[in-house]
Subunit: 235 residues, 2 copies
Amino acid sequence: MNLLLLEEADFIGPDRVILSDRRLTHMQEVHRSAVGDNLRVGRIGGLMGTAQVLRLEAREAELQVILDQAPPAKLPLTLVLALPRPKMLRRVFQTVATMGVPRVVLVNSYRVEKSFWQTPFLEPEAIREQLILGLEQARDSVLPEIVIEKRFKPFVEDRLPALVDGTLGLVGHPGNHPPCPRALTEPVTLAIGPEGGWIPYEIELLGKAGLQPVQLGERILRVETAVTALLARLF
Amino acid sequence: MNLLLLEEADFIGPDRVILSDRRLTHMQEVHRSAVGDNLRVGRIGGLMGTAQVLRLEAREAELQVILDQAPPAKLPLTLVLALPRPKMLRRVFQTVATMGVPRVVLVNSYRVEKSFWQTPFLEPEAIREQLILGLEQARDSVLPEIVIEKRFKPFVEDRLPALVDGTLGLVGHPGNHPPCPRALTEPVTLAIGPEGGWIPYEIELLGKAGLQPVQLGERILRVETAVTALLARLF
């Protein structure tokens, strides 16, 4: 936790918060905070800044906050991601939040196992929990938007073209394709497939929606590693 | 498992192997292999190719192998890594093997907790297990070399300069440094710090050994994410 994120419900006044959950435990056990100490904080969806510990008791802490810094810029990116297996999904939520992806669309794909859609990690509170861990890691206060599209074809045919419009559309896909471009400043829509990759029919439909295949070399990466590697290369 | 890796002990003849462990289970449960099927295989430390299933029983399988393909090239890199916490360490071993890092030096650092050095995940068999998972993912047959240097100063002063010689020496470090360079083809020696980063004294000693600080932006990445992001940007 490199940033302590504050929820609306924590505020008892314009510049005062009370904490009593895992953030208090973290202050006590990791930071070993004392009254008078300053901590980096951010208001979820708002500014970042510092907080001074006014009162620190076993069950709650009171902080005075000064929020005067803009959060770091997000990447100019929409990430379309075939739903990963549940254990990977949790880490991917953290990774996209840490890396500064502002919007993720989770889609179905032929090689996504149907059971993956049943995971409790897709419930809004579970998603939010992982995103917050990722923001705390990166020092960012703005949650990415997570969109769930359980049906591939209607999403790709009816809604994806509008997302791609005005952006560079790319789909990560192994094979004899151009290498992933580097150091872009323009907006990008990037699709990343499931373990085992997209099937040819999906690549064809994504192509019609404006996403052209690019590759990262002959090594096959886990989804989480592919997300990080593609973003680090693109921007 | 995108590649089935063969150990020397599996060979019962120049082109015959017998499998009976988790690789047999994987053939049965994931690939749902049958006699006559072909699988991608690699000989650890040697060539890659295909294997045909000659015999498939509950407790063992016999395969005929043709090894005629070179493994993918490794990155021209030595990675010097402050020892991560044990859970992260296991994933980092997989990641470096997947990404094609040929040599990793694990070093101590002021911010590495002493207890991390006690982890059973540092035992040679445990390291090898994770590296093999990473190679199976990437489709590579050559194990990275893992060097353990428990004392920072003697390593950096006495042995690091020889490793850096003839390479571009870099250390990932947040702050007002040049951005991490892109698309290099020359050999690199790259150091990545612990959670919380290197301390100034360590940056100074690394600098004397020939490693100059570079940064990846204001977001703070987990070690595993930083490794992937730096490698994807450098090469």
